[in-house]
């Protein structure tokens, strides 16, 4: 049932990205292009997507905090609070990659449906970057696999 529930959640999430146009790299880049503001052709759609998603999520999470989940013993809320080097460096690296192509992880995965070679290259590289991080982390920071799993469970 857990797997079926997350299939439905993924499906709704994918429809949200599809309907909003956020799977289109050009639409995302048109939001990130602040020089378009004075020219009058800026696209604020991404801000509306985030605002709507935040409103629904904040309200729903307020409800979820008072309940235990249907198919699990308890909610796994993120536990990390530190604003540290990895958070800053990782966010910069992600932002640079996002700005280069206009794809973040969710839309990249949804776009696999197009079987576009560019998307496939992007997702494979994304997987290499992810696994590369984990090997680097396991070798240099925390040789304990459980520590790695705990780190991965944080935030999202």
């Amino acid at each position: 049932m857990r797997a079926l529930a997350s299939l439905i959640c993924g499906f709704i999430f994918g429809w949200g990205l599809f309907i909003s146009g956020m799977i289109l790299p050009d639409k995302v880049l048109d939001f990130l292009d602040i020089f378009a503001i004075p020219r009058g052709n800026w696209d604020p759609s991404l801000a509306v997507v985030m605002a709507a998603a935040l409103a629904v999520t904040a309200a729903g999470y307020a409800l979820a905090r008072r309940r235990t989940p249907v198919f699990e013993a308890q909610n796994q809320w993120p536990t990390q609070t530190a604003i540290d080097g990895p958070l800053v460096v990782g966010s910069v690296a992600f932002g640079v990659g996002w700005g280069l192509v206009g794809l973040c992880p969710g839309p990249a995965l949804v776009n696999l449906a197009s079987l576009s070679p560019g998307v496939i290259v992007f997702v494979v590289a994304m997987a290499v970057g992810t696994i590369g991080h984990d090997f680097w982390y396991a070798r240099n920071i925390a040789p304990d696999a459980r520590t790695l799993a705990a780190a991965g469970a944080a935030d999202g």
């Binding site: 529930a5 997350s6 439905i8 959640c9 993924g10 499906f11 709704i12 999430f13 949200g16 990205l17 309907i19 909003s20 146009g21 799977i23 050009d26 880049l29 292009d33 020089f35 709507a52 998603a53 935040l54 629904v56 729903g60 409800l63 989940p69 699990e72 308890q74 993120p78 990390q80 609070t81 604003i83 990895p86 958070l87 990782g90 966010s91 990659g97 280069l100 192509v101 794809l103 973040c104 992880p105 990249a108 995965l109 949804v110 197009s114 560019g118 290259v121 992007f122 997702v123 590289a125 994304m126 290499v128 992810t130 696994i131 984990d134 696999a145 799993a149 991965g152 935030d155 999202g156």
Partner: protein, 141 residues
């Protein structure tokens, strides 16, 4: 702002929020694509099934849209596969290092009013804005 699509953006955003709420209410999990994806492909992962179906759902969404008469768009990407691969590596490594992306930090994290996620979102937004300014208006402009 001829390309501004507020209605479809609001509907799409609300669906993303609905998905995040349902995943927490049903499975007790944060709907962060970085964590879902990493836990799916990581060789050390022991918890793959729900992650695999979530990603399957993501990919199924545009496929189901075809049945309703939509077409699956071919995303416009840079012509250089080197650029695409470099961007993919940065996104994969960066999101894993900072433990989240636009969904995990930008939506789920900010919805929890997590200062960590607010910081991460501000940083990756500014970094992306700087890169787009450079590629569109300085180098490519």
């Amino acid at each position: 702002m001829a390309n501004f699509t507020p209605i479809s953006a609001a509907i799409g955003g609300a669906l993303i929020g609905l998905s995040a709420v349902l995943l927490m209410l049903l499975n007790g999990r944060i709907a962060g694509i970085t964590g879902v994806f990493a836990g799916l492909i990581d060789p050390l992962s022991t918890d793959r099934a729900w992650r695999a179906t979530f990603v399957a759902g993501l990919i199924a969404a545009p496929l189901s849209a075809v049945l309703l008469g939509y077409t699956i768009p071919i995303p416009h990407m840079p012509t250089s596969f080197v650029t695409i691969a470099a961007a993919g590596l940065l996104v994969g490594f960066g999101t894993r290092l900072s433990n989240g992306c636009t969904s995990g930090h930008g939506i789920c994290g900010i919805a929890r009013l997590s200062p960590r996620s607010v910081t991460a979102t501000a940083i990756f937004m500014v970094a992306a804005i700087v890169v787009v300014a450079l590629t569109r208006h300085v180098i490519g402009g």
